[in-house]
Structures are given as C-alpha cells and as structure tokens.
C-alpha cells in the first residue's frame, strides 16, 4: 500500500516536472514570438507613417505652396483615412519661421512648435533630400494631452516647407498592449525612456528595473529574460533604435503549469484516499475474517465442535468457513460413530456379565450337587471301608437325588452281597487245602532223604573216576613230551648230518681251489723267471747304448774342436772368411747342443739301469715268496683233506643217531595213543557218574520243591483262613457258610 502511494507520488512528480519544463519552453517561445510580432507591427506602422508623409509631401497641392490648397489636401488626406492609424494631425511647417502655416487641426495654425518645446522645432533636423524623413523622439506639448511622435519630411519644390505628421503615442501603446491582458508591451528608446507603455503616464519616464536598451541588441534580434516576478522578451526595432519589450507576470504565464501540478496533486491525493479506503475496508475485513476463522479453528482444536461456522459469504473466506464446517461435521460424525461403537462395546460387556452370573449360579448348583455327592460318596466310602476292614454285613443307603449315585449305591450293595457269599465259600475251601497240603509235605520229606543217599554214592564214584582220568592225562602229557623231545633230537641230528655233509663238500672245494692256486703260482714263478731274464737283457742293451753315446760324445768334442779351429782360421782370413766364421759358429752351437743331448741320454740310461736292477731284485723276492706260498698251500690241502675225512665219519655217526631217535619217537607215539584211549574211557565213566549225580540232585531238588510247595500251600491256606477270618459273614447266607465254618473249626 505504502509502495503504491510512493509510486504514485513519484509518478506525479515526474509528470509535473516534464509538463512544467515543456510549459516553460512554450511560454518562452510564445513571449518571444509575441515580442517579434509587436516589433514588426511597430516597425510596419512607423514605416507606413514615414512613407505616407513622403507621399503626401509629393502631392501636387502640397507642392504648390498655396495655403488653402495645402490645407484642403492635408485635411482630405487625414479625413479620407488614407493615413496610418493613430496619426492625429498633419501640419505644414514653415521651417524658416518655424510656424505651422497650415494644419489639419486649425488650432495649430500659426503656432510655433518651438515655443511649445517640440524637439523637431527647437533642434531642426537637416534633410538630405526631398525623400528624407525625420522621426522625432516622443515628446509632449501643452496643446495636446498625449505624448507625440512627430514625423517630419521636407516638401519638395517649395522652399522652407515641411510636412509634420503628429501621432498619438498613447493610442499606439493601447493598440500594442490591448491584444493580450496577461502581457504588457512597452517600447524603450535608446535614451532609456518609455516610448510606449500601457500606462500612459509612464510614457517618456525613465525605464525602470533592468538596463535593457537598444544598444544591447542588434536590429531585429530577440532575447528572453526571467526577471524573477516577471518574464520578459525583447526585440530591437529595425526602423528606430528602440526596443520592444513584452512583460508577462510569471504567475500568469505559468498558470497552466500550476494548474496541472495542482490537479496532479489532487489526483495523487484522491488515489491515496482510495487506496486507504480499499486497504482499510477490504484489508481489515480480510484480516478480521481470517482472525475470526483462526479463532474458530482454535476453538475447534480445543475440542469445542459447537463453534459457529455458518457464513453467508461467497468469497474465499466463505469457502474457508465451509471447509472448516465440513471438517467439523466430519469430525462430529466420527465422534458419533466412536460413541456408538463404545455403547455397543458396553452392551457386549453387560451381556458378558450376565453370562458370567449365570455361570456362577450354575457353579453354585454344581457345588451343592458336588457336596451332596461328596457326602454320599463319603457314606459309600465308609461302608466300603468297613467292608475292606472286613465287615461285610453293612449296607449303604442308596437313596439320593442323583440317579447315578443311587445306582452306584445299589451296585455297591449288590457287590457286597456277592462278596459276602464268595468270602464265606473261600473260607471253607482254604480249610480243605490246608489239610491236604500238610499230608503232601510229610511224604515229600521221606522221598527226599532216600534220594540224598543215592546222590552221595554217585558222588564218590565220580570222584574216583575223575582222579583216574586226571592221572592218565598227565601220563599222556609226559609221553607227548618224550615223543616231542625225541623228534627234536632226530631233527637236530639231521641238521648236524646236513651240516657235516656241507663241511665235507666245502673242504673238497677248498682242496680243489688250493690245487688251482698251486698251479697258478707255478705259472707265476715261471713268468717271473722270464721277466728277470728280459730285464737282464734290457740292461745289456742299455750298456751298449751307453757305449754308443760315449762315441757320440767323443765325436761332438772333436766337432767342437773343429769348429774352434774353423773360427780361428776364419779370424786369420780377411773379410772373405766372414761367412765361414759364421758357419763355424753354427757348427759349434750344434755340437754343443748335441753334447748336451748326449749327456741327457746318458743320465736317463743310468736311471733306467738302476730301476731295472731294483725290479730284478723285487722279482726275485716275489719268486721266493711264491715258492713259499706254494708250500703253504700244499699244507692247506693236506689239512683240508683231513677235514673231509673227519666230516664223513661224523656224518655216519649222526645217521645212526637219527635212526635210533626215530624209532624212539614211534614207540612214544604208540604209548600215547594207548593212554588216550584209557583217558577217554575214564572220562566217559566220570561223565556218566556226573549225569547220575545230576539226576539224583534234580530228583532231590524236585522233592524238596514238592515239600516246599506243600509247606507253602499249607501256609497259604493258613493265611487264607486267617485273612478270611477278618470278614464277618452272616451265618444265614446259605448252607455253605455253615459247612465252611465247620471245616475251619476242624483245622
């Protein structure tokens, strides 16, 4: 809202500024135009007055100089309206006497303008020619009541005569200013006096205010001035050095701008008022409505669903209200539904309560029934307990409001009846059994004793047989040992025999090996002899080589000597013997080398000879040792032959032992078989005895069991009798009871 106001004010200010500026320009140009127009008008008027004066001066009657004719012509001229406006009189001036001789205004005839102070008379102008015109400055004369401008022109053809056009400046001023009331037109001459002014009295007075005058402007030029209170446009005249000024009060000139500004301000204010109005009514209405809606909503939120949401508005606020109303209604429905559901639940709860009550009632009934049943059961229990304790005479009272219980009571009574009878019968039967079992016990004892004696005899037989069997078994064991030992001996002898045979074979092999060794040794001995012979031969050969080498050595020494002689000869000879000397030197060198080689060979032969003699010695000692070895091997052969003979003797002995042992083993086997048979027989005897003993034992035990059973039967019968005695039975059940009682008494 505030922004809208500011925008409006700003926009108004812009419009105002623009309009004012345009308006000022317009006003300025208007004033300038007006000023120029007025100047042109004034120029035209003054020009026309001058032209008219010249034209009139050239009229025939005027040039005639005849007084009446001039007067008539001037009067006609003036009255015919041919003169420009504001020309009030035309005078005919005698410039020599300075008197108006004729005039359109008869009052002026004969008057001297100089006496009246007219400037054209007091200071007569000089004319350059007949068409020259003089325009006076404004002046006043006593004879007329308005300021005057006089236009003077000489009359051609007549001496010292001139025409004077008198103009009414006041009227002219009125004509200038009259067109526009907002502006005032003044004319100022070069002397700074008003030539024309709307206020007649100001004419010819000094121009006030600014120093504008004709000197400041070139002819026809226009200028504009802002004089504070007033605006002014000035234009210099062309026909005269006067300035026409248009004054316009600023207030009036700019009245349109002020009006526009005023209207703009008014418009802005109206807009502000309307904005305020809209803001206050619509704005506050909306705010109030929204606040109201929000309060209602809060009330609703606090749980009050009865809040008033009715509205007749059709706008968005109304829609909001209706939305809230819908929401409220829907919430209400939900609450109603919830309450219905709650009441349903309560109903269900009440039903459940009733059901529970009924159940409790039933439970109470059940309880009374139960207690009745319990008391009944207790009663039944008592009777049954008594029955269990032995009193079978009691009966229950079967009367009950429960049919089942009643039938149970009746059943109990029937059962007790049956039980009483059964017990009575059992008592009688127990007595009978007891008597019978007693007799069985006695007989069994006797049989038992007899069988015990049989058992003892059989045990003795068994013991004897068992001992015999054991002894036979030990004999058999010993025989088995004997047999085993003999077999071991036999096998050991066999082993010895085998070993001795192997030894004999080895001895034979040894002898044969020794025989081969002797042969080999003899061969070695022979080869050694041959080798010795060969070495001796070698020695001889070497000796011969030594002799040859000695010969070579002698030859070399002789050669050397020859070479020496040759070199001496060469030295004796002159230069031609030089080549000989060289050969001699060469020979000498070769001889020396040969001598060295021969020496070397000699040394090596000496080494070989000494080695050969060592070898011979070694060979000889080897030969001796081989001879010794042969004799030793021959001794070994003899020893081995003796071993073989001994071994064969051992083998024979062992074979004999082996045969004896085998026979012994065979005999032991036969003894053992016999013993085994004996053992089997005695074992069978023992087994038989054992079987008899077991049978006797079994018999004894059976009899014992019979006796025990009889005793137990007797005891049971007694127990039964005793047990049955707990039960009181009515004697008058039936006849059997009496018999049973009698039987019991018998025992």
């Amino acid at each position: 809202m505030l922004v809208a106001v500011v925008v409006m004010v700003g926009f108004g200010a812009v419009i105002s500024t623009q309009a004012s500026a345009t308006l000022q320009d317009d006003v300025e140009s208007d004033l300038e135009t007006l000023s120029e127009t007025r100047t042109n008008e004034l120029d035209a008027w003054l020009g026309s007055v001058q032209r008219e004066a010249v034209l009139t001066s050239q009229l025939e009657p005027v040039r005639s100089g005849d007084g009446d004719a001039v007067d008539r012509a001037l009067t006609d001229q003036l009255e015919s309206g041919a003169v420009p406006p504001n020309v009030v009189a035309i005078h005919y001036l005698d410039t020599s006497s300075m008197v108006f001789t004729e005039s359109t205004n008869d009052e002026f005839e004969g008057i001297s303008p100089a006496e009246m102070g007219a400037p054209f008379a007091t200071d007569p102008p000089e004319f350059d020619g007949p068409n020259d015109v003089y325009v006076s400055e404004p002046f006043t004369v006593p004879a007329v009541d308005h300021p005057i401008i006089a236009v003077v022109t000489p009359v051609p053809g007549v001496e010292d005569r001139a025409l004077v056009y008198m103009t009414d400046l006041a009227k002219r001023s009125e004509a200038l200013s009259g067109a526009n009331q907002d502006t005032s037109t003044v004319v100022v001459n070069s002397a700074g006096n008003y030539v024309a002014h709307p206020n007649e009295s100001k004419i010819l007075t000094d121009h006030e205010g600014h120093s504008m005058n004709a000197t400041m402007l070139a002819s026809g030029q226009t200028t504009f001035m802002d004089g504070g209170e007033t605006l002014m446009a000035s234009t210099a005249m062309e026909t005269k050095d006067w300035v026409v000024m248009i004054h316009s009060p600023k207030e009036t000139a700019y009245a349109l701008g002020a009006q526009i500004n005023s209207d703009l301000v008014g418009l802005v204010l109206l807009a502000i008022i309307n904005l305020g109005l809209v803001g206050v009514t619509i704005g506050s209405n909306t705010i109030i409505s929204l606040r109201r809606v929000s309060e209602r909503a809060e009330t609703m939120a606090d749980g009050d669903l009865e809040v008033d949401l009715a509205t007749t508005r059709e706008d968005e606020i109304g829609a909001l209200y209706r939305s809230f109303q819908d929401m409220r209604d829907s919430i209400r429905e939900k609450i109603v539904e919830a309450e219905t559901a709650r009441s349903d639940a309560e109903e269900a709860r009440t039903e459940a309560e009733d059901a529970r009550m009924r159940a409790e009632q039933e439970a109470a009934e059940m309880e009374s029934m139960t207690s009745h049943l319990e008391s009944k059961a207790a009663e039944f229990g008592d009777v049954l307990s008594d029955a269990a304790a032995g009193d079978l005479t009691r009966r229950v009272d079967p009367d009950s409001n429960n049919e089942s219980m009643q039938s149970v009571g009746q059943s109990i009574n029937q059962t007790l009846d049956s039980l009483e009878q059964t017990i009575a019968r059992m008592k009688a039967f127990a007595g009978d059994v007891s008597a019978a079992s007693d007799q069985v016990g006695t007989n069994a004892d006797r049989v038992d004793k007899a069988s015990e004696q049989v058992t003892n005899s059989i045990a003795e037989i068994f013991d004897g047989t068992t001992e015999q069997s054991q002894r036979l078994e030990s004999a058999s064991g010993e025989m088995e040992n004997l047999s085993a030992t003999a077999e071991q001996v036999a096998s050991a002898a066999q082993q010895v025999a085998t070993t001795s045979q192997e030894a004999a074979e080895v001895g034979e092999e040894g002898r044969e090996a020794a025989q081969r060794a002797i042969t080999e040794m003899s061969a070695i001995e022979a080869e050694t002899g041959e080798t010795v012979q060969a070495i001796t031969d070698l020695d001889d050969e070497l000796d011969e080589i030594g002799q040859i080498v000695s010969v070579i050595t002698q030859i070399v020494e002789q050669t050397n000597m020859l070479a020496l002689n040759a070199s001496i000869e060469a030295a004796h000879a002159d230069a031609s013997g030089d080549g000989f000397a060289v050969v001699a030197d060469e020979i000498k060198g070769l001889a020396e080398e040969t001598k060295e080689a021969a020496g070397d060979i000699e040394n090596r032969i000496d080494g070989i000879q000494s080695q050969a003699s060592e070898t011979v010695e070694t060979m000889e000692s080897t030969s001796e040792r081989v001879t010794d070895g042969v004799s030793t091997v021959e001794e070994a052969i003899d020893a081995l032959e003796r071993i073989v003979e001994h071994t064969e003797e051992v083998d024979t002995g062992i074979q004999e032992i082996d045969d004896a042992t085998e026979e012994q083993a065979r005999t032991a086997q036969e003894v053992m078989e016999t013993i085994d048979e004996l053992t089997t027989i005695s074992q069978q005897t023992a087994t038989e005895a054992d079987t008899v003993a077991g049978a006797a034992d079994d018999q004894s035990q059976s009899i014992e069991q019979v006796a025990t059973s009889a005793r137990e039967l007797h005891e049971r019968a007694d127990d039964l009798e005793q047990a049955l005695s707990r039960f009181d039975t009515r004697v008058d059940v039936d006849g059997t009871g009496t018999a049973a009682a009698a039987a019991t008494d018998d025992d």
Binding site: S262, G266, L270, S284, R292, E306, D308
Partner: protein, 242 residues
C-alpha cells in the same frame, strides 16, 4: 467549467444521499445500537448543510496570505469529527470521561487547523504542528485505552472497532496532507483542486463510516440468528446419538 460550486454541489448531493442511506440502514440494526448509528447519520446531515451553504457561495473567507478558507467546512468538521471519535469509543463502551476527552481533543485539532489556515507563514505551521500533535494524541488514545476496552468486547464488536478506527485514522491522515498541499500550506494545490479532494474524502469518510458501522451491526445480528438456528439443529444430533 468545473469550479468550486460544482464540487460543493456534488458534495452536497453525496452527503444527502449518504444521510438517506444511513438513516435507512439504522432501521435494520437492533434497537440497542440505533442510538450510536443515529449519530452516524447526523454526521453526513451536518456535512450536507455545510456543503449546501458553500455551494450557495456562503462562508468563503479570504485569509491573510490570500488563500480562501471556508468557514462552514471547519464548522462541519468541528461537529462531525468528534462525533465519529465518540462513536468509535462508544462501540467498545468507553466511559463518558474518555469519550469527552477524545471529542475535545479532536475538536481542538480542528480549531487549530482552522486558525492555522487563516494565518500567514510561519505562524500557520506552528498551529499545524500543534494540531498534528493533538491528533496524534487522539490516535494514541484510540490505540491504547480504547484498544484495551475492545479486548474485553466480543470478537465482532472488537473487529468493528478496529475496522472503524483504521478507517478513521487512515483517511484522516490524508486531511493534514491536503492542508499542507492546499493554499493554507505550501499551496501546490489550488483552491478548486483542494476543494474537490476534500469533498471526495469528506463524502467517503462520513458516508463510508456510517455504512461500515451499519453493515457490521446488521451482519452481526444476522450471524447471531444463524448461529442460534445452527445450534438448535446441532443440539438434536448428539442427543439422538445417545
């Protein structure tokens, strides 16, 4: 073409129509509120008389600095603006003392404005400042003491109070602006334009005030009726559910 007389005539017509409208509106509101609204109807009636006089050319008064002051207008304001302030205070049930204080201060504002308008610069500005200060005091009272009273009233009444208070405060703030811009102040606006603007704002403020008050009271009464009927409808609902 359009001049002071035109604006004043239009103002007169506007005020007469407004008076008729408000007077008719008064018959629509509940009886207990008629007295307050009767006052609201008197306001445009007084203004209509003042504008009638001015349209007929009476009451124009040329001041020291050449401006024109219309005496009937200030008389109108002297009577009507305290009435408006009093109505606003009455709506929230202000005490007689408070109402008297507000009305007096408002009357003083007008008197200072009138005297200021007749005087030349700078004395007129002094009185203008004094008048503005007194008006600010009125506004202050409306926003403090009266607001406190409004808080205790019902929502509808408080809302109407706030609406009328905003209406008066916002529109009346335009008057000092006009005063400043018109010949009484800087004189940017001429007498005719100022008269047009003042006429417009007068009609709007006086008639609008009355119409807003009537509208709200009438809708309040209608809402009360509607609420009652809605309550009646809703009252059956939950009982039926039970």
């Amino acid at each position: 073409m359009f001049g002071l007389t035109t604006w004043f005539t239009i103002g007169t017509v506007g005020m007469v129509v407004g008076t008729v409208l408000i007077a008719y509106g008064v018959t629509l509101v509940p009886a207990e509120r008629r007295r307050q609204l009767g006052l609201a109807a008197i306001v445009p009636a007084i203004a209509a008389a003042a504008y009638g006089l001015m349209a007929l050319g009476f009451g124009g008064f040329t001041t020291a600095d050449g401006g024109t002051v219309f005496i009937p207008r200030y008389v109108d304001w002297l009577l009507t603006t305290p009435i408006h302030v009093a109505i606003i205070a009455l709506i929230v049930g202000a005490s007689t003392g408070l109402i008297a204080r507000l009305a007096t201060l408002q009357a003083v504002t007008i008197v200072l404005g009138f005297v200021g308008a007749t005087l030349a610069s700078p004395l007129n500005w002094v009185l203008y400042a004094l008048g503005s200060a007194v008006f600010a005091w009125v506004v202050y009272l409306l926003f403090t003491e009266c607001e406190a009273l409004a808080a205790e009233e019902s929502d509808n009444v408080a809302a109407l109070f706030r609406k009328l208070r905003s209406f008066v405060v916002v529109l009346w703030l335009v008057y000092p602006m006009i005063w400043v811009l018109a010949p009484a102040g800087v004189g940017v606006m001429d007498v005719e334009t100022a008269a047009l603007v003042v006429t417009y704002i007068d009609v709007v403020a006086k008639v609008g005030f009355g119409l807003i008050a009537i509208n709200d009271f009438a809708s309040m009464a209608a809402a009360t009726d509607t609420t009652a009927s809605v309550d009646a409808d809703l009252g059956d609902g939950p009982q039926a559910a039970d």
